[in-house]
């Protein structure tokens, strides 16, 4: 630290120029950063679930859908049909939309008096009421269409847009949303949600970041009572945010819902180091010249700041073991950002301070109520450490009991409030149709054999009987319809072709009409068939129960059945979140323990700090369990933030205690000194962090709101424990060793 201080004093101007020009360089690159919300980006490329998903998309075409619902009194009215037809044409022309299935273009196997053909259900718009009525009853009586392209009551129609697996789903969704300019037309499905999510998340952050900045400025001003005290910590976080975004741009990374909270994290956390440096510098500068003051500051709090910074970085870096790609990137880049904030605080701020005229300290800061409270607290802790320990452990214990109640959720729909447009559309499609997300089953075997076809049929029936999906569709339904059509449309013949030959010849017939029609049901070598069913309930519980039942069903049926679909990916993501959480949690605790051990050179210090932060984290998870807040892609971040940041408070208190002990104070006095000296900076920083994260309560996304309150919760406990439980534990131990 002494060397660092000398270096800064020798070349302050050069340091300022280099840092500012690097900032400009990174700012230019930061503009390259774009936003992605594709769920597949969360997985490593070789993940088995992603492979299975891509395999099906390759074989049968898209499994990702955008659903557009139109609402009206009667969708069979001429105007409604015209609207559906116009929407169908508009959507078909959007690049990346492979197929559109709507009331006006859905294929029908037509058995006419003289033959059969595969053509549109509606060839021409009805010319009069009578024709419309006839069309209406024809469609509503057919379970192939009612509930799939039109709701049972005829008030809603559904357009299913099948996306090209190669296309960027979010861009396609943007196109679709842009093509809709009528009222009472709703779009939903994962790509739409992703697109809206990206857009509104951006808007949300643009709205929230100024609030965070304002709030922190206020806290800083209350603490320092001067402009530089506000400006310098701020410059630190702004520079670190710019450098981080710039390096993301340089390495071609994208913003995700996950790391879009990163700027706020950097702004809230990054100022802490500056606060500690400035706070000490002002103390020193009232006695010494600036050069000496900087030297003293860096020597006394420099190590603690470095320690606090490295543990925070370790906390974020612990995410780099996660299997979720975006977690890794989030961990890495936030860690990097904190590293920059730390470096700027230790190098840039002292360099600036050499040029700044230091205002005289406000004497009132030193006395006052605040200090008395801290002193009172310290005295209480020293006098009765046992009581403090019991009270705090009890508080932590009660919350921790909620841990087993913790749930996970990766359903994107939860990112929207109930009264928002995407959620309304989702509920609409869910209630009037089967749903907007598909479950895909691929059956391998000699598909044309009647026995295999019958097995597929019964699997479909049983799947539908679970009540968890809409009507499953497969090649069996197609063959049954052809069979009926070729038997003069007699419904009695809506059955599986009696022989393999008949099935093969039907397929040949269909291929002559439209070879692409079959590709989404069966492979060209007739060795694999796909059953597709829309999932009604995509909540984690709904999916868990669905997959349990599907597993049981497919086992029963023997043979080779693979299950996939976007819902399967989301389910796998939930599992990965938990696993990733456990491993990064363990890793960060170990890292924090070792770092604190190394930096404080004390087993006691590192053990106690690690214990405290474990307690705060456990209490937070317990709190989530009690209140029913699920771990999802955003709330999952709390533990790494909590551990890395929360431990700082303990580190500051402990190093204050060590410093006092080195000066020859008794344990009790050393504890009081530590609390009084460091307490104020801790409370100021905790207030800034908690305040900053509480701003998320104004977010329009439930997960961001949860995230904000949870981090605040962890920080509150971490700060509280560091000022009460930690000293009490040190005191209890000191007392015992004195008795011993």
């Amino acid at each position: 630290m002494l060397a660092l201080s000398r270096f800064i004093q020798r070349r302050p101007l050069a340091i300022l120029i280099i840092i500012l020009s690097l900032t400009i360089f990174f700012a230019l690159n930061a503009r390259k950063v774009t936003m992605t919300t594709d769920v597949r980006d969360f997985f490593p490329g070789d993940h088995p679930e992603v492979k299975a998903y891509d395999e099906i998309a390759d074989t049968f075409g898209g499994t990702e859908y955008i659903m557009v619902a139109t609402e009206g009194e009667d969708v069979f009215q001429k105007e409604s049909l015209e609207l559906i037809q116009s929407l169908t044409e508009r959507f078909e022309s959007i690049p990346g939309v492979d197929r559109v299935r709507s009331l006006t273009n859905v294929e029908e196997v037509k058995g006419t008096a003289w033959g059969i053909e595969l053509s549109s259900l509606l060839e021409e718009l009805p010319r009069d009421e009578e024709e419309a009525a006839r069309f209406r009853s024809r469609v509503l009586q057919d379970d192939f269409y009612a509930g799939s392209v039109v709701s049972g009551d005829g008030k809603l129609s559904l357009l299913a847009l099948e996306l090209d697996p190669q296309a960027n789903a979010v861009e396609v969704a943007d196109g679709v949303l842009g093509a809709i300019n009528e009222e009472r037309v709703y779009a939903t499905g994962t790509p739409v949600l992703n697109s809206l999510l990206a857009k509104s998340m951006k808007e949300d952050l643009i709205r929230l970041i100024p609030l965070v900045v304002l709030l922190i400025a206020l806290v800083l001003y209350l603490y320092f009572h001067n402009l530089w005290g506000v400006l310098l910590p701020f410059l630190t976080v702004i520079i670190s945010t710019i450098w981080t975004m710039g390096s993301m741009g340089l390495s071609g990374r994208q913003m995700t819902p996950l790391n879009s909270v990163m700027p706020v994290i950097l702004i809230t956390l990054g100022n802490a180091y500056g606060i500690h440096i400035l706070s000490r510098f002002y103390d020193e500068a009232s006695r010494e010249d600036p050069g000496k003051a900087i030297e003293n500051t860096l020597v006394s709090v420099g190590t603690a700041v470095l320690m606090a910074g490295t543990t925070t970085i370790a906390g974020f870096l612990s995410n780099s073991t996660s299997t979720i790609v975006q977690m890794r990137e989030f961990g890495f880049f936030t860690g990097f950002g904190i590293l920059i904030a730390l470096g700027i605080s230790l190098i840039f701020i002292p360099a600036v301070l050499l040029y700044v005229k230091v205002p005289n300290r406000d004497a009132s800061r030193e006395s006052g109520v605040f200090r008395n409270i801290l002193l009172r607290m310290a005295q209480l802790t020293v006098a009765a450490p046992g009581r403090v320990i019991i009270v705090m452990l009890l508080a932590a214990g009660i919350f921790t009991l909620g841990v087993p109640l913790l749930t996970t959720n990766s359903n994107l729909f939860n990112f929207f409030d109930h009264d928002t447009q995407p959620r309304i559309a989702y509920e609409l499609v869910k209630s009037s149709f089967s749903g907007s997300e598909s479950l895909e089953l691929v059956i391998e075997g000699d598909i044309l054999e009647p026995e295999v076809l019958r097995s597929i049929e019964s699997l479909q029936d049983e799947l539908e009987a679970t009540g968890l999906t809409g009507k499953p569709i497969s090649i069996v339904d197609v063959l049954k319809r052809v069979n009926m059509a070729l038997n003069d449309g007699d419904p009695a013949h809506k059955e599986i072709p009696a022989s393999r030959e008949l099935a093969a010849q039907y397929l040949l017939l269909l291929e002559m009409s439209d070879p692409d029609f079959l590709t989404r049901f069966i492979t060209v070598d007739y060795s694999q068939a796909r059953i597709q069913a829309m999932v009604k309930d995509t909540s984690p519980e709904g999916l868990a129960s669905l997959f349990d039942q599907v597993d049981a069903l497919t086992k029963e049926h023997g043979g080779n059945v693979t299950t996939t679909g976007m819902v399967k990916l989301l389910d796998a993501l939930a599992a990965m979140i938990i696993r990733g959480q456990i491993s990064s949690l363990t890793l960060s605790l170990i890292a924090v323990f070792l770092l604190v051990r190394w930096l404080t050179n004390s087993w006691e210090g590192s053990l106690l700090s690690t214990l405290l932060i474990t307690l705060s984290t456990a209490a937070t998870f317990g709190f989530m369990g009690w209140t029913g807040v699920a771990l999802d892609m955003v709330t999952v971040l709390i533990s790494s933030i909590g551990i890395g940041v929360g431990v700082d408070y303990s580190v500051h208190v402990y190093s204050g205690y060590q410093e006092a002990r080195k000066k020859g104070k008794e344990p009790a006095d050393a504890i009081i000194a530590a609390i009084c000296q460091r307490g104020k900076a801790i409370i100021c920083n905790a207030a800034a962090v908690i305040g900053g994260f509480l701003i998320f309560l104004f977010s329009s996304f439930p997960p961001l709101r949860y995230f904000g309150s949870l981090v605040s919760f962890t920080m509150f406990f971490a700060a509280l424990f560091s000022l009460t439980l930690l000293p009490a534990l040190i005191m209890a131990r000191a007392k015992r060793s004195m008795v011993g």
């Binding site: 390759d58 074989t59 003289w114 033959g115 059969i116 053909e117 053509s119 044309l448 070729l486 072709p497 022989s499 393999r500 030959e501 008949l502 099935a503 093969a504 010849q505 039907y506 040949l508 017939l509 291929e511 002559m512 009409s513 439209d514 070879p515 692409d516 590709t519 492979t523 060209v524 070598d525 007739y526 060795s527």
Partner: protein, 246 residues
């Protein structure tokens, strides 16, 4: 200066000569490929983008006249053997042996795929009966050592292509490669021919590969038997005969 003038003159001559010969080339090509009647045994292998394959064998008789007639009979695989397709002018009938009945197919099926392959009926017909000159205006783009490169623009927009690029073998007057371009100008399909042989004194390709560039699928057509002077009975092109099965 003089040299430049000669060069310029040559260019003018060359271009006017080639403008005239586009039609000639196409006419000679049609002449080589068309025959009054023919019988073919063909193996069709469809290969999907994923590499899955399906192979079928058909026997096909065709006869040109006031109306073009064609009879197709599936030989294998066993589950579709005996399936027959009859086309007379714009009318089409299908016989499914497992159903035991002849069914008429909608007229627009002709726009569709030929037997579920990557070729459409019209692609197929141009190769055999109708030829190219009837439907396209050719333009000679350039003459290479072994081939001509033609650009064919369809007379009618119904054809579904903006234009075709055809490489014609100078020696045999057979297409070596045809590129099919969609109305928006993008390449959609590529046909290549190979295994040339002389049959009854006529050059013919023993193997055709049609690649669908958009879907990534491919159809390989292998001529197992070609007969330009088959013994054809006009009665073969009737629904009664179709219904007789094999």
């Amino acid at each position: 200066m003089k040299r430049l003038l000669v060069l310029g003159l040559l260019v003018v001559l060359a271009s006017s000569a080639s403008a005239a010969s586009g039609d000639e080339i196409l006419a000679r090509l049609d002449e080589t490929m068309q025959s009054g009647s023919r019988e073919i045994v063909q193996q069709m292998t469809l290969i999907s983008a994923k590499g899955q394959e399906r192979t079928r064998q058909i026997q096909m008789w065709s006869s040109r006249g006031e109306t073009d007639r064609m009879l197709v009979r599936f030989l294998s695989p066993a589950d579709v053997a005996g399936t027959g397709l009859l086309s007379v002018g714009d009318d089409m009938w299908l016989y499914l042996p497992a159903l035991g009945r002849v069914r008429r197919i909608a007229g627009h099926a002709k726009k569709g795929s030929f037997m579920g392959t990557d070729l459409s009926y019209e692609d197929m017909e141009e190769f055999g009966s109708t030829g190219f000159a009837a439907g396209y205006s050719p333009e000679l783009i350039r003459t290479e050592q072994e081939s001509y490169l033609l650009r064919l623009t369809p007379h009618s927009q119904d054809r579904g292509y903006q234009h075709l690029k055809m490489q014609v073998c100078r020696e045999r007057f057979l297409p070596l490669r045809i590129e099919y371009y969609a109305p928006d100008g993008s390449l959609v399909k590529v046909l290549t021919t190979m295994d040339f042989q002389q049959v009854q004194g006529r050059p013919t390709a023993g193997k055709l590969i049609m690649e669908d560039v958009v879907k990534g699928s491919k159809t390989v057509l292998e001529q197992l038997k070609v007969d330009f002077e088959p013994d054809i009975n006009e009665e073969m092109f009737s629904t009664r005969y179709l219904e007789r099965g094999r």
